[in-house]
């Protein structure tokens, strides 16, 4: 268990469902979800860029929807299904990332592949936030146009790419998913 001696008296026991695994954490009520994910559960893929809800680096999925984990106390996430970037390529993860796109071989999923194919990342610090934002959004709106994707991408900050290749990566993934679905529905009578 983590060192709790500096956390104050009013510690609480939380049960968090993260990437399909149930975790128990003893923590202070004021601790944010992103800090618990990063520092208590050691899921450091989710990043912190501002701690005030603007940059989106901390975006995770809560019950399938993108949320800013810096604006939420961990205690508020009890009972919800949380998915972080670690769930995307992870073999056998049960987390609801809102898509059926996870590879079971531990390799990159189709969205992650689209990011690397389109050079949608440079330093990679913003990337987990954009991936989770896109996963949540495409699950809601698989038919999203490139313009709608650009609108959504504007929710997060990236300082390296100029955004164009991020939009292109997400659009490429959405297009491929649609084509795949169309092919599947043709095959099934």
């Amino acid at each position: 268990m983590n060192d709790t001696s500096g956390l104050g008296d009013d510690l609480q026991l939380l049960t968090l469902d993260v990437n399909g695994t149930s975790h128990e954490v003893i923590t202070a009520p004021r601790r944010t979800l992103v800090d618990v994910l990063r520092h208590d559960l050691r899921l450091t893929g989710t990043h912190v860029g501002c701690e005030h809800g603007i940059c989106g680096a901390c975006t995770v999925l809560v019950d399938g929807l993108p949320v800013r984990a810096c604006l939420m106390f961990a205690a508020q996430a009890e009972g919800a299904r949380i998915a972080t970037v670690e769930s995307l390529a992870d073999a056998g993860s049960k987390a609801d990332s809102g898509s059926d796109s996870r590879s079971d071989s531990g390799e990159l999923n189709d969205l992650q592949r689209a990011f690397t194919e389109n050079h949608g990342l440079q330093c990679g610090f913003c990337t987990p936030g954009f991936l989770m934002l896109a996963e949540g959004f495409l699950a809601e709106r698989p038919e999203a146009t490139k313009e709608e994707i650009r609108e959504v991408v504007a929710a997060n900050l990236c300082r390296c790419t100029g955004y164009q290749t991020i939009v292109e990566a997400i659009d490429a993934c959405a297009t491929a998913r649609r084509a795949q679905r169309a092919a599947c529905s043709e095959e099934t009578p």
Partner: protein, 797 residues
């Protein structure tokens, strides 16, 4: 001799080798480092811009449960960080930057004490309990105030608040040139203070390693070896006793190539406590108290003949450097860059310039992507546009008459420009916007009363500064060369080191491309080490677009040397001379008998495990090292940017409708990476042109301390950029590459400003300052209209 394989990797957009870990959350950034027993630091910071510290009461801090220690400057007894230029006192005044403020504070956010606690939340509780009292001194919040007669002094030793005052050039007879010129145009520009704003804020994790007798400092820096030097001096340790390790880095853009006070204080606290200490800067501190950049004021004039040819350029450059000189670059970084390079791509026969660095009570500045070039390019391009208007010339035609077209060209600034494609890029950029129909669309829009403008900027940027170029600036700490070691193990796998430090520029891929080609091995066989002072003999880190030019050349040279050794071992086995052999895809081949080969694995086996088979003159093992330096003036990448904007009447909003970039960085090692650098740079340039500004009130209190107030552009504001490549290879780098990191940022502000002015042409207003705010545009579009007549009520039915 290089590999004979023709499927060379250099020049190809091979997928990035960094991506899999970064995409799966397995990257390791400084805040991801967790060490047993680790404590957390936060800094008590000055709340006043200028004052004498009269009392620091930390007793309540220690009472906060979970706070372990709190240290002031006198507790930690650290040496100062003092950046130096080798210039006479009349030109440069050195100022010491204490790691923690001792008796005087000079900007809001200056660190005074470090609170160390069990967790970061508690450390912040501790900050709130700190009581510091000050005797306020008058704050100096701007360059004009700083230079005013009788102004308070930010540093007692710097008269007139001037840290740097250099007049690098003054062509004889320049006044006559201006007196007799048929056309003289003036421009005065101011550029806003900006934050380079890497998305990952600064941070450090330090601990003392007893077994190695070493302080280990994990920090996100672009210059690991220079941080080691400062840490060892401030903490009075041998350099050997400090190991700086740089993990993955979430951007830097120059801000992380100045040594930060907090990283040194974190190291000192860890050394004192004998426990690991982590400091992660929050965004508020990053916006207000980390290094800033860009606030400059130019007064310039240019003389032209009647045909629009430049006769002379005369400029005064004033840079507001904030409270301290940053290490290692000093407050000279901006005025020296502007002064030395302002003539840029144009043939300027007479030149005079004065450059000054002024100290004020604002957070200190550091290099930021482009360093002064975004500003002086803006000045040069505004002067071109203004002369074109005055002389009735097309704005591109006047540039065509002035750009350097014969190379090598030695300018009035004494710099020799290597071949580039200045004219070609200009023509191609115009052609791209013409073919896309923007000129017709502009005419049609104007007829409808819409405000559409087209603007350009044409520039070159010196990259690959070697020791000679930095020495010419009279830096006392002279960057320039870089070092590389290439090593092959018994399995034939290759490890390469570089003294440069990627913070998003894909070195793990591009450096490996160079090595894989030089040795004729698969990319997967090559692994790059960077950012560890114990693994890398020495290096100057990454700044000034030097990584591929200097670091990449060192890597290529070292790999070629290792190739020579492989050939020598094979030749010895065959009893022939090495000249009779060639590297070929993981093997050495006999030229006289191409079917006879020896694999690298076989040769490595000999080199390490059967060294008795080697001839006496060949040392066992397979390593090679190389140092590369640039002994001339460096190499010049160039570009033309063309942009189309629309100004919105009601809101004053500037919308970018199209953006074309024609760039030439010589041989692009990985074109996709180069395009990424261009697009990212352009986004930062647009940010400076239209959005971002660090502002202070008249008490020196920063007013943009969160993303609510500091407007970082998003995918809404940043357009798609169409990129065209030209290729003028560099003659002296190993690969023909020139630097590519900064150009986007350099070209964008001038192009955007020119486009806005083109859109404003019918109004007669011209803007010269950035950021171009909606208010200024709105004011320009809404001339002090006569008070609208009262509604004619009687006409209403």
């Amino acid at each position: 001799m290089n590999s004979t394989k023709d499927d060379r990797l250099v020049g190809r957009s091979v997928p990035r080798r960094e991506d899999p870990r970064l995409l799966t959350g397995r990257g390791r950034f400084v805040d991801d480092i967790e060490l047993p027993g680790m404590l957390h630091a936060q800094f008590v910071r000055s709340t006043v811009a200028h004052g004498v510290i009269t009392a620091v009461d930390l007793t309540d801090v220690c009472r906060v449960p979970g706070v372990v220690a709190v240290f002031t400057a006198s507790d930690l007894e650290m040496g100062d960080i003092t950046a130096q230029l080798g210039r006479p006192l009349s030109e440069f005044v050195p100022t010491a930057m204490p790691v923690l403020a001792r008796d005087r504070v000079r900007y809001v956010g200056e660190p005074i004490a470090v609170v160390v606690a069990r967790d970061p939340y508690t450390a912040e509780d501790g900050l709130e309990a700190a009581k510091v009292t000050y005797e306020a001194l008058p704050p100096i919040t701007g360059e004009e105030q700083a230079l005013a007669a009788g102004a308070a002094l930010v540093h007692d030793e710097a008269a007139h608040n001037t840290l740097v005052d250099v007049s690098l050039f003054a062509t004889e007879g320049i006044d006559d040139v201006f007196d007799n010129a048929p056309c003289v145009v003036h421009v005065e520009t101011r550029t806003g203070r900006q934050n380079a704003l890497p998305l990952e804020t600064r941070g450090a994790v330090a601990h003392w390693d007893d077994r190695e007798e070493q302080l280990v400092l994990h920090t996100c820096t672009q210059v690991p070896h220079q941080v080691r030097t400062v840490a060892s001096r401030c903490l009075r340790l041998d350099e050997r006793a400090v190991r700086v390790i740089v993990p993955d880095m979430g951007g830097g853009f120059g801000l992380k190539c100045a040594v930060g006070r907090e990283e040194i204080a974190t190291a000192a606290a860890a050394r004192r406590l004998g426990r690991p200490v982590k400091w992660i800067e929050d965004r508020k501190d990053a916006l207000s108290a980390s290094f800033l950049a860009r606030e400059q004021h130019y007064t310039a004039r240019a003389a032209f003949d009647a045909d629009g040819r430049i006769l002379g350029l005369d400029a005064d450059v004033v840079c507001d450097m904030g409270a301290y000189s940053c290490y290692p670059f000093t407050a000279g970084i901006e005025p020296l860059m502007a002064s030395a390079e302002m003539p840029g791509v144009y043939k300027v026969p007479a030149y005079r310039v004065r450059g000054r660095a002024i100290t004020t009570n604002k957070a200190p500045t550091a290099p930021y992507r482009g360093v002064s070039r975004p500003q002086y390019v803006m000045v040069a391009e505004r002067l071109m546009e203004r002369a074109a208007r005055e002389l009735g010339l097309d704005p591109l035609e006047i540039r065509r008459r002035n750009v350097i077209t014969e190379f090598p060209y030695t300018g009035v600034n004494g710099i020799t420009y290597d071949p580039g494609s200045y004219l070609e890029s200009l023509n191609l950029c115009e052609q791209a916007l013409k073919e896309a129909g923007w000129y017709e669309r502009q005419a049609a829009a104007r007829a409808e009363g819409r405000h559409i403008g087209i603007g350009y900027s044409c520039f070159s940027e010196r990259t690959g500064y070697g020791s000679a170029a930095f020495a010419a600036r009279k830096m006392e700490v002279v960057p320039g060369f870089d070092f590389s070691e290439v090593r092959m193990d018994t399995s034939g796998a290759v490890t390469v080191t570089t003294g440069t430090m990627s913070h998003g520029q894909s070195h793990e891929t591009t450096m490996a491309q160079i090595v894989a080609d030089a040795l004729g091995v698969d990319l997967a066989k090559v692994k790059l080490h960077q950012g560890d002072t114990d693994r890398i003999t020495y290096g100057w880190g990454s700044f000034a677009s030097r990584s591929i030019v200097v670091g990449g050349s060192a890597v290529g040279l070292a790999a070629a040397k290792l190739g020579d050794k492989l050939r020598a071992i094979a030749a010895a086995e065959w009893g022939i001379s090495p000249e009779g052999t060639a590297l070929d895809q993981g093997r050495v081949r006999r030229l006289d008998d191409p079917d006879t080969t020896l694999t690298y694995a076989h040769l490595a086996d000999t080199a390490y495990l059967k060294a008795h088979l080697l001839p006496k003159d060949i040392e066992p093992g397979l390593t090679a090292t190389a140092v590369f330096d640039v002994f001339n003036d460096g190499t010049f990448s160039n570009a033309t940017h063309g942009v189309v904007v629309e100004l919105h009447q009601g809101t004053g909003q500037v919308e970018i409708l199209a953006y074309v970039c024609v760039e030439d960085c010589g041989v692009a090692i990985n074109p996709q990476v180069v395009e990424g650098q261009c697009r990212g740079g352009i986004a930062q340039g647009i940010a400076g042109a239209l959005f971002e500004q660090v502002t202070y009130d008249d008490q020196g209190e920063p007013s943009a301390t969160s993303f609510m107030d500091y407007k970082v552009p998003t995918a809404h504001e940043i357009p798609d950029v169409s990129i065209h490549h030209l290729e003028t290879p560099c003659a002296f780098t190993e690969t023909g590459a020139k630097g590519a990191g900064e150009g986007g940022t350099i070209g964008a502000p001038a192009a955007v400003l020119n486009a806005v002015n083109d859109a404003l042409r019918p109004t007669g207003v011209e803007l010269d300052n950035t950021p171009i705010t909606p208010e200024t545009v709105h004011r320009a579009l809404t001339p002090a209209a006569p008070v609208p007549p009262a509604p004619a009520l009687e006409q209403t039915p």
